[in-house]
C-alpha cells in the first residue's frame, strides 16, 4: 500500500463522515478549512461526494444507524481510498464504549487494513489533523 498511500496523500480530496460522535471532532475538521489553518494550502479539499474522495475522514463511534451507512459509503468510494479515523471515538469508541447503541469500532467494521491513520484526541487539535493528513 506504501506507494499508493504516498501518491494519494499528495493533495487528498477528503470526504467527511460523522458517525455517531459528539461533533466536537466535526467542528475541528471544518475548522481546518478556515483561515487560521487552511488545509487547502496543502491541496486538501473537502468534497461533496464520496465518489470524488481520496480519503474518508471518519469521526464518531459508529452507532447502529450510522455504521451501516458508513459501510455503504466506503463501498461507494473509488478505490484505493484511505480511511482516516479522527478522534478517540473513531479510533476505539472513546467515551461511548460499552453503550448499547454502538456496534463495532471503525477498524473492525471495515475490511482489515483499510484504516490508514489514527488521529487520537478528544477532539484532536486541527494541527494534529494536519500532521495526520500529511
Amino acid at each position: 500500500m506504501g506507494v499508493t498511500v504516498k501518491a494519494l496523500m499528495k493533495s487528498p480530496w477528503v470526504f467527511h463522515v460523522s458517525a455517531g460522535g459528539c461533533n466536537g471532532c466535526d467542528i475541528e475538521v471544518l475548522d481546518c478549512l478556515t483561515p487560521r489553518f487552511d488545509i487547502e494550502r496543502f491541496g486538501a479539499v473537502l468534497v461533496g461526494s464520496v465518489r470524488h474522495a481520496d480519503a474518508l475522514l471518519v469521526t464518531g463511534a459508529m452507532n447502529r444507524k450510522s455504521a451501516y451507512r458508513l459501510k455503504e459509503l466506503y463501498r461507494q468510494a473509488a478505490k484505493p481510498c484511505l480511511v482516516i479515523a479522527i478522534g478517540a471515538c473513531a479510533c476505539g469508541q472513546g467515551i461511548f464504549r460499552g453503550s448499547y447503541a454502538m456496534v463495532q469500532p471503525l477498524d473492525e467494521l471495515l475490511p482489515p487494513g483499510v484504516v490508514t491513520a489514527y488521529i487520537p484526541g478528544c477532539p484532536p487539535k486541527p494541527e494534529a489533523m494536519i500532521a495526520g493528513l500529511g
Binding site: 455517531g20 461533533n23 466535526d26 467542528i27 478556515t34 444507524k65 472513546g94 461511548f96 478528544c122 477532539p123
Partner: protein, 402 residues
C-alpha cells in the same frame, strides 16, 4: 397535506440525516410542490449514543465528562445543568462564589464561539463565504482563550459537582481582556456587515417568520424565542452561576424572521463579552470546590442556558455513587418543531437558511438529495439546494444594482 394533487408534482427533499451541530442529527423531509414547501417531516435519533444509559454506570464525577460529550459546542452548558441537578439532589450545596464566576466565564466563552460559528455557517448557506471565513476566523481567538484558561479548545472539563475542577490563572486575565476588546470590534464589524447589506435585508427579512404566539405554542427556546419577542432566558428568569451578579441585557427582537434571529445572536455576542469582562474583574478569591462527599437518595433538576436555549437535566439517586436515572432535555428538541411554523409556504431556495436559523447544519451540505415522490429518482442534491440559495443572493444583488 391535501391528497388531491397528483403525486407527480410533489417532490420530497430529504435534508440530512447527519447533522453534526446537534446532539441529535435529524433528517428533514421537505415536501415541495413546484418551488413551495408544503410540508416538513423531521426524523431524529441518528446520533443516538445511549448517553443516559451510559451515565447510569458511571460515578457522579465521571458523568460530567460523559455529559460534556453530548455536544461538542454546548460542552459547558450540559455539565452546568447536570451539576446543578446533583447539587439540587444533595439539598442545595453552597457552591463557592469563585466557582460560580468561573462557570459563568466558561459558559459565556462557549456562547461566544457558538454564535460566531452559526453566523459563519449562515453566511455560507447564503453564498457569503466571506462571512463564513470571518466568523470562523474571529472564533479562533475565543478558542485560544479557552485553551489558555482551561487546557482544551473544546470539552473543557472545568465543571464538577460542587464547584469547578481547575482554578483560572489571574495572570492571564489582562491578555484575555485585550483579546476580547479586539473581538468586540470584530463582532461590531460583522453586525455592520449584516445590517448595512441591502442584499441580506432582501434575503433574510420576512422569511421564516415565527410569530410570538407560535413561539409560545411551540415552546421555542433560546435565541429562536427571543427573536420572536419572547424574553425567555433562564439566565435571567432563574439565575444560576453568577448571572445575577453581573449587569447584562436579554436581547430580544420583534419579528421572528431569520434576520432577527441573526441580529439577536450577534448582539448576544456583545453581551457575552460584557459578562466575561465583568466576571474577570470582579472574581472573588477563595475556594473553588464545595467537596461533595456523597449524594443522598432523592432527585434533582438543573437547568442552564445553552447557546441554543434552555437545557434541563434530571437525576435520581439511590444513595450509591452513580445516578440510577439521568434525563437530558436539550434545547434543539424544543426548537425543531418550530420548523413546521416557519418553513411551510416558503420557497425551497429559502428553506436551507430557515432550517439553519434554528441552528446550523453543515453536514446536510453533502447529504441532501431530492427525490421525485412519484418516480423515486434523485433530481436534486444538497449541493444544488445550497447553489440555488446562493444563486438567489446573486440574482438579488444584480437586481439591486450592486
Amino acid at each position: 397535506m391535501s391528497n388531491n394533487t397528483p403525486p407527480k408534482t410533489r417532490s420530497v427533499i430529504p435534508i440530512g440525516p447527519f447533522h453534526p451541530l446537534q446532539e441529535e442529527p435529524e433528517l428533514f423531509r421537505l415536501h415541495v410542490e413546484g418551488e413551495t414547501v408544503v410540508d416538513v417531516d423531521v426524523e431524529i435519533g441518528w446520533n443516538h449514543r445511549g448517553i443516559e444509559k451510559l451515565a447510569e454506570d458511571r460515578t457522579w464525577d465521571q458523568v460530567t465528562f460523559l455529559i460534556e460529550r453530548i455536544c461538542g459546542i454546548c460542552s459547558t452548558s450540559h455539565p452546568i445543568a447536570y451539576v446543578q441537578a446533583v447539587e439540587d439532589c444533595c439539598g442545595g450545596v453552597d457552591v463557592p462564589e469563585r466557582a460560580l464566576y468561573i462557570r459563568t466565564v466558561i459558559a459565556e466563552l462557549e456562547r461566544l464561539h457558538s454564535h460566531l460559528l452559526w453566523t459563519g455557517l449562515a453566511g455560507h448557506f447564503l453564498g457569503y463565504n466571506t462571512i463564513f471565513m470571518w466568523g470562523w476566523k474571529y472564533r479562533e481567538p475565543v478558542l485560544d482563550i479557552c485553551e489558555e484558561l482551561t487546557g482544551n479548545r473544546n470539552h473543557y472539563a472545568m465543571i464538577k459537582p460542587g464547584g469547578v475542577r481547575r482554578d483560572l490563572d489571574p495572570s492571564l486575565f489582562p491578555s484575555v481582556h485585550k483579546r476580547l476588546d479586539e473581538l468586540k470590534k470584530q463582532v461590531e464589524l460583522l453586525i455592520g456587515a449584516v445590517t448595512d447589506d441591502p442584499v441580506l435585508h432582501a434575503r433574510l427579512k420576512g422569511i421564516g417568520v415565527l410569530t410570538k404566539e407560535d413561539a409560545i405554542d411551540y415552546c421555542a427556546l433560546g435565541p429562536v424565542s427571543r427573536a420572536s419577542g419572547v424574553p425567555a432566558d433562564v439566565r435571567r428568569n432563574h439565575p444560576y452561576a453568577a448571572y445575577d451578579r453581573v449587569d447584562w441585557d436579554v436581547i430580544t427582537a420583534e419579528k421572528g424572521d431569520v434576520y432577527d434571529k441573526t441580529i439577536v445572536r450577534l448582539l448576544e455576542c456583545l453581551e457575552s463579552i460584557k459578562i466575561i469582562h465583568q466576571c474577570l474583574d470582579n472574581m472573588p478569591e477563595g475556594e473553588i470546590d464545595a467537596k461533595i462527599e456523597e449524594v443522598p437518595p432523592g432527585e434533582g433538576i438543573g437547568h442552564g442556558e445553552a447557546p441554543r436555549g434552555e437545557t434541563i437535566h434530571y437525576v435520581r439517586s439511590d444513595g450509591t455513587n452513580s445516578p440510577i436515572r439521568h434525563k437530558v432535555r436539550a434545547p434543539t428538541y424544543m426548537n425543531l418543531p418550530t420548523c413546521k411554523a416557519t418553513v411551510i409556504g416558503e420557497s425551497i431556495t429559502d428553506a436551507t437558511i430557515i432550517l439553519a436559523a434554528i441552528d446550523p447544519c453543515y453536514c446536510c451540505t453533502e447529504r441532501t438529495a431530492a427525490i421525485d415522490a412519484g418516480s423515486k429518482k434523485t433530481i436534486m442534491t444538497g449541493k444544488d439546494l445550497i447553489r440555488l440559495s446562493q444563486e438567489k443572493t446573486l440574482r438579488l444583488r444584480k437586481e439591486l444594482g450592486l
